[in-house]
Subunit: 163 residues, 2 copies
DNA sequence: TCATACTGTTATTGTCTATAACTAACATCT
DNA sequence: AGATGTTAGTTATAGACAATAACAGTATGA
């Protein structure tokens, strides 16, 4: 109750790395389930991706948004979010943030006064190019993990699953 | 509102074709990125999985927890969450819910008065078996999507990525 | 015994996703 | 033109899920 100050044992610097399943747990048929393997792979990959792009401060979703705007300048928010499978209501915040960081601009559309045409700023274009460079290294790291021909085998299979 | 910065459409090398009312959005190199393909595939699959198992009311994480407990009766919460890559602090709620639904029980451990040994109830075992049946149909649906030999090719690649 | 580490727990925060409802602006159809 | 319906952007809200800090009780090894 009378809480004294904390001792802060924390994570300690030395010693044991965290091995996967050091306890010999039987995962049953879990490793044979595509969904489970996919989820575990995605977690690992996103972790690496986020670390790889943390110098530019772009998380996966924001990175993909910049790519779309770069390749399709002038799209409105609904079109962008539809292309990425994001809900347009959830895209508002992302656009706000990207605009606050001066990476994109919302121009009033010429044909439709309801909508904005989104463009990269010069700053956004520069940052995207840096991000693409880092993503390239990330991608190569993954390809190395997969072994020769692995990536070329994997991608079509994933897109079949994604429909 | 209005932009206070230069717009810089930044036309990239690809043809900036603008068709009114067409959804022909250029995804750029996005489809070649493993992380993006993985994310999209995972979203589609999880959607199908959740729908497939909604009659038993199990979401992916809870399903995997039941499998682990079934194959490893008596594990404590830390061991289970470690095996699944879940943080033990976030596992508390899941165990609470599963217990509230009478699918698992927390028995006080014999060797360690701090921890519980988790077991499936009979009800939990029955529900898990139903879930496994539904998961089987789900899995076969995915395998059909992947074509002959696709699943056998995909799984090892995913586990290489997951480390 | 005592410092240290571990188990389960609560509380909090942040990210991401999903739904409902609202406004302004279009579009259509008679 | 007027009624009606639809779309774009937005807000508010809720839920699932993950990450961090802190703490009490217990275990353990020097």
């Amino acid at each position: 109750m009378a809480a004294h100050d904390e001792a802060v044992p924390a994570e300690t610097g030395g010693g044991g790395r965290e091995e996967t399943s050091s306890k010999n747990v039987d995962l049953g048929s879990l490793p044979d389930f595509i969904g489970y393997a996919l989820r575990r792979a995605q977690l690992t990959i996103f972790e690496d991706f986020i670390r790889s792009l943390e110098t530019v401060g772009l998380r996966p979703a924001y990175f993909s948004v910049l790519i779309i705007i770069d390749r399709n300048p002038g799209l409105n928010q609904s079109e962008i979010s539809a292309a990425l499978g994001i809900q347009r209501t959830n895209f508002v915040n992302m656009a706000d943030e990207l605009q606050k960081r001066n990476l994109i601009v919302r121009h009033p559309s010429e044909h439709d006064r309801r909508s904005y045409a989104l463009y990269l700023t010069r700053e956004g274009k520069v940052l995207l190019d840096q991000a693409l460079e880092l993503q390239g290294e990330h991608e190569e790291r993954l390809a190395r993990k997969l072994g020769p021909g692995g990536r070329e085998m994997l991608l079509p299979l994933l897109w079949k699953l994604a429909e």
